[in-house]
Amino acid sequence: MVDTEYMTEELVQSRKAKKFNLVLGMIGMFMMFAALSSGFIVYTASGVDKGIKTLLPNTFIYSTIVIVLSSLTLHLAYQAAKLEQLKKQRVLLLFTIILGIAFFALQLHSWSVFTDRGIYFVNNNASQSFLFVFTGMHLAHIIAGLIVLVRCYIGAAKPIPFPDNKFRMNLATIFWHFLDVLWIYIYVFLLLNQ
């Protein structure tokens, strides 16, 4: 209702296109991880001495729970943004950011779990190096996601006009959910190959 008053036809079109840009970008990111997955499969199949050869640390379970929770809080924040409840939106966004940082820390912690077990990045069994590549590349995307969330928070704190805030939140939510699903994909992929 509000949108129709505010949005000119061209703005509606351009926003639709921007949202579509994000979807395409996510396809590109997914292709990168798909390439890593197929690289992992080809490499691991090249010999019986290859493969992860260890159990995935429990921290991966915790980090999975954390990132799913963060998706939930972000979803609620988006709902709040749609209802113009700025304060609620900010609080929930803050929760999401904290959970995102917690996820980051947990992943780093699992790296130290690996190194404690003698599994290093520089490794003659590159299947084990792949563990670091998968999680590391995902974390690089998480950094981008956190920047997006902080930008949303700034938008809600200022606050920027309602439709802009809603649109920004919409894109951020899609992207963060994607990062969530991407992690679950990586985790399941690694579980199946451990």
Partner: protein
């Protein structure tokens, strides 16, 4: 609930008219698709000249392996001590020539220029979906170019493992000088380049799907747009795979991992890396690398379609077939990468599968070639320079494509692999063909880009010297390849069976030098016409597409008033019954009653009824 937001919306809407610009925002950090297209084009031309000079340098070495050219030492210093190019530098020249031509000239220079210029223009959009991303796309590309050129200024020289940078050569920094810092810079440059391509490609796809003007449904789009669209899809799906390959290679080089490395002894020392697989890199690389050659050639095919149809004054033959063949090439391009790897010890059954998929690509390619010829057939051809280059493009596409059938055949490829036959094949089919498509585009859309015309006579001179030169350079290479001469070899005099080819190399090098000099005609024409060319009219080629409905002077937002509505496909040339030999896409059918055909109305019964009534009143009979 809505009171706070009106002003912002109004400001946004008006921004097309009151857009204050500084020098910096207009010419440097521009977000306008027309300016970004010019930036891509001029950067691409600079890179092309650079890469061409590199090729002349290694051609000199191949033609006169025993002669000294003191002038080379003046410019190249220790890389040409005593006036002879050193073997290490020879490899660098070959590598960077390939990298720049494939990626910077024929990918960014071609797609970047014409996608940016034509997608908003031909679809009737004010600009790209995200002008900011578009600007970033150019600047990432620019930085990638700077880093690649800068690698010539490091002590150990630029990368020299070939443009395919196969490990282990590229992955062991101590292997050869070119695998040192130069290789790292190559990887960084390529990473930035991929970011640029993904940003650009995402924007192209999104703009095409979301920002078309009223009436512009997908089947009314010019074939240029179809080609850019499918090219961008191929790029979006394949470039991220190269990121993965490059990242792993980077770790192998700089961190010490063993993704690609195993059992190596360099300079008498055993390397610690164990268990890696260099073949893994080839798989990842060619999963991008093969689609990449279609990224290079498809925009050229699109531009050629448009130019040939316009200048034959005939509808493109088989519009739908042209689109479906592009779609076919797009899909098939992802399942043929193994044909680059027939000699890697691949399972022959798998090789057979890749062979079949590869040979199937000949079908859509042939459809395109025949459709071009059928479009020319009995056309009212205007041999503008753009048209000459477009026809030249078809010629190279055919003569280079035919040898693709030989190479795609595993049994033959095992003999021809890594010989000059391969060099001849891809320089004709994707090198010369694409560059001719690109030049055709430059000559054709120059008036749209700069508001002036290029000189026609210089255009013809440029065309004939380049066309004949390219054939003289690449055609003899087929015979060298069949004789088993391997590519990338430094001096033919070192091998008895190759020595007889040195005389052929002389011919090739002279042809290359003359064709290279011919580019001066182009450069002069291009740059001097920006200021001194004849002023262009709004629609100099009497073309149907939307870009020619915009004013000659560039304005922000492209059209001064409303964006025009589209009523018909873009290829209504020489339509029987119409007084002019072209009908722009913006002309409604109500204004062309004397030339409308029943199928124009796409089953709209009311329109057909009105037309039939008109036909009866005006004694018009339609013989189809």
């Amino acid at each position: 609930m809505s009171s706070t937001v009106i002003s912002h919306g109004a400001a946004h809407h008006d921004s097309h008219d009151h857009h204050h610009e500084t020098f910096l925002t207009k010419y440097v950090f521009s977000q306008d698709h027309k300016m970004i297209a010019k930036q891509f084009l001029i950067t691409g031309i600079v890179m092309a000249v650079f890469a061409m000079v590199l090729s002349i340098l290694f051609r000199i070495q191949l033609a006169w392996p025993d002669k000294e050219f003191p002038i080379l030492e003046v410019f190249l210093g220790k890389w040409a001590e005593g006036g002879r190019i050193k073997p290490d530098f020879f490899l660098s020249l070959v590598t960077i020539h390939g990298t720049m031509m494939v990626f910077f000239v024929l990918t960014a220079g071609l797609s970047g220029t014409f996608s940016n210029l034509l997608i908003p223009y031909q679809l009737g959009a004010r600009d790209m979906a995200s002008p900011l991303m578009n600007m970033l796309s150019y600047w990432f590309f620019f930085i990638a170019c700077v880093i690649m050129v800068a690698s010539f200024f490091v002590e150990s020289g630029p990368a020299s493992a070939g443009w395919t940078i196969y490990p282990p050569l590229s992955a062991v920094p101590t292997a050869i000088p070119g695998s040192g810092l130069g290789m790292t810079m190559w990887l960084v440059s390529m990473f930035l380049f991929i970011v640029s391509q993904v940003l650009g490609g995402v924007n192209y796809i999104s703009t095409i799907l979301n920002m078309r003007t009223k009436g512009m449904d997908l089947w009314k789009m010019p074939l240029t747009i179809w080609a850019f669209f499918l090219t961008a899809i191929v790029g979006l799906l394949s470039f991220p795979v190269l990121v993965s390959a490059v990242v792993l290679l980077f770790f192998d080089r700089s961190v010490g991992t063993s993704f690609y490395l195993s059992d190596l002894v360099v300079g008498g020392e055993i390397l610690p890396n164990e268990g890696g697989s260099p073949i893994l890199f080839q798989h990842l690389f060619w999963f991008l690398g093969h689609p990449e050659v279609y990224i290079v050639v498809m925009p050229a095919l699109g531009l050629t379609s448009e130019i040939i149809s316009t200048n034959s004054r005939k509808p493109i033959f088989g519009y739908h077939a042209m689109v479906y063949s592009l779609v076919g090439i797009t899909v098939l391009s992802f399942i043929v990468w193994g044909h680059h790897m027939f000699v890697t010890g691949m399972n022959p059954f798998l090789g057979g599968v890749f062979m079949i998929t590869t040979l199937i690509i000949a079908v859509p390619s042939a459809v395109k070639a025949f459709n071009y010829i059928a479009t020319l057939w009995r056309g009212n051809i205007r041999f503008t320079p753009a048209m000459m280059f477009a026809i030249g493009m078809v010629s190279f596409f055919v003569s280079g494509g035919v040898t693709g059938l030989h190479l795609g055949n595993a049994a033959l490829d095992i003999n021809l692999h890594d010989t000059y036959f391969v060099v001849a094949h891809f320089h004709l089919v994707m090198g010369s063909a694409s560059i001719f498509g690109m030049l055709a585009g430059v000559y054709h859309w120059y008036p749209k880009m700069f508001g002036r015309m290029m000189d026609t006579k210089l255009g013809y001179l440029h065309f004939w010297l380049t066309f004949i030169g390219a054939y003289l350079v690449f055609f003899p290479m087929h015979f060298m390849g069949i004789d088993g001469v391997p590519r990338r070899y430094y001096a033919f005099t070192e091998f008895a069976f190759m020595e007889k080819w040195v005389s052929v190399n002389l011919l090739v090098t002279w042809a290359a030098i003359i064709a290279g000099l011919a580019q001066v005609a182009f450069l002069w024409n291009f740059f001097s016409s920006i200021w001194k060319g004849k002023k262009a009219t709004q629609n100099p080629w009497k073309s149907n597409t939307l870009e020619w409905t915009t004013p000659v002077e560039h304005i922000h937002g492209n059209w001064p008033g409303e964006i025009p509505t589209v009523y018909r496909w873009p290829y209504d040339y020489s339509k029987p019954g119409h007084d002019d030999d072209f009908i722009p896409q913006t002309t409604p059918f109500s204004e062309t009653m004397s030339s409308n055909l029943p199928h124009d109305f796409e089953g709209n019964e009311e329109a057909i009824r009105i037309q039939n009534e008109w036909n009866k009143q005006n004694n018009r009979e339609i013989v189809e």
